[in-house]
């Protein structure tokens, strides 16, 4: 049975989750923009390869909502009806952001050569950052 203690704990965790997601969105977007065309990401190496598990991890967190280390009751409060709806809206926003980024890069490539890895990094960064930022905003409003 849910207790007030669980409700308060879930509230704190929810705010923390939103803050971490907003921060991650900013860091990932900045990283993708600042490191655009940077050599470490253009050749096979650890720095470039880390991008794959990082995006994968954030996708997993977006799909599951986080809070997996919490007890079952707090975790269920963290992923209640409102949070599920917010996540669905955030994922929808991320999808449109991804499409828009893809179209802009496609059009931009007519004017400036853009490497495949740079383009894909930018598309994934925009998509995941958009979804994370939108989720964080919906959770704290």
């Amino acid at each position: 049975m849910v207790r007030v203690h669980n409700v308060e704990q879930a509230e704190r965790a929810s705010r923390g989750r939103a803050a971490v997601m907003a921060l991650a969105a900013v860091v990932m977007m900045l990283n993708a923009v600042i490191e655009f065309g940077s050599a470490p990401y253009s050749v096979l190496g650890l720095r470039g390869a880390v991008w794959i598990p990082m995006i994968g991890a954030w996708l997993f967190i977006l799909a599951k909502g986080g809070g997996l280390s919490r007890d079952r009751l707090t975790s269920s409060l963290l992923n209640d009806e409102l949070s599920l709806q917010n996540r669905a809206r955030a994922l929808s926003f991320g999808f449109y952001a991804t499409m828009l980024a893809g179209l802009l890069i496609y059009a931009g490539s007519w004017y400036q050569e853009i490497g495949v890895r740079d383009a894909l990094r930018l598309v994934t960064a925009v998509g995941i950052s958009g979804a994370l930022a939108r989720y964080a905003w919906l959770e704290v409003r």
């Binding site: 007030v4 308060e8 409060l77 409102l82 959770e139």
Partner: protein
């Protein structure tokens, strides 16, 4: 005419002297969910609306109604 869900959740909760956290505990949702329903930001599912009504000991129609609904 545009329809919107009107709710008297805040009034019903206050009448019983419950805080948002206490109502959230009874229903099994986060306090934020109660807050957003009260402010009209979040439209709850039928299931949650029924749970809220049961927790407050009233009919669901006593809490939720359609604004702008013409009979």
């Amino acid at each position: 005419m545009a329809e919107a869900l009107a709710n008297r959740l805040r009034d019903a909760r206050s009448a019983l002297g419950l805080t948002q956290a206490e109502l959230a505990e009874r229903v099994g949702v986060s306090r934020k969910t109660i807050n957003t329903v009260e402010n009209g930001v979040f439209v709850p599912s039928t299931l949650l609306a029924l749970k809220l009504a049961r927790a407050l000991g009233c009919a669901v129609e006593a809490i939720f109604s359609l604004d702008g609904w013409e009979e």
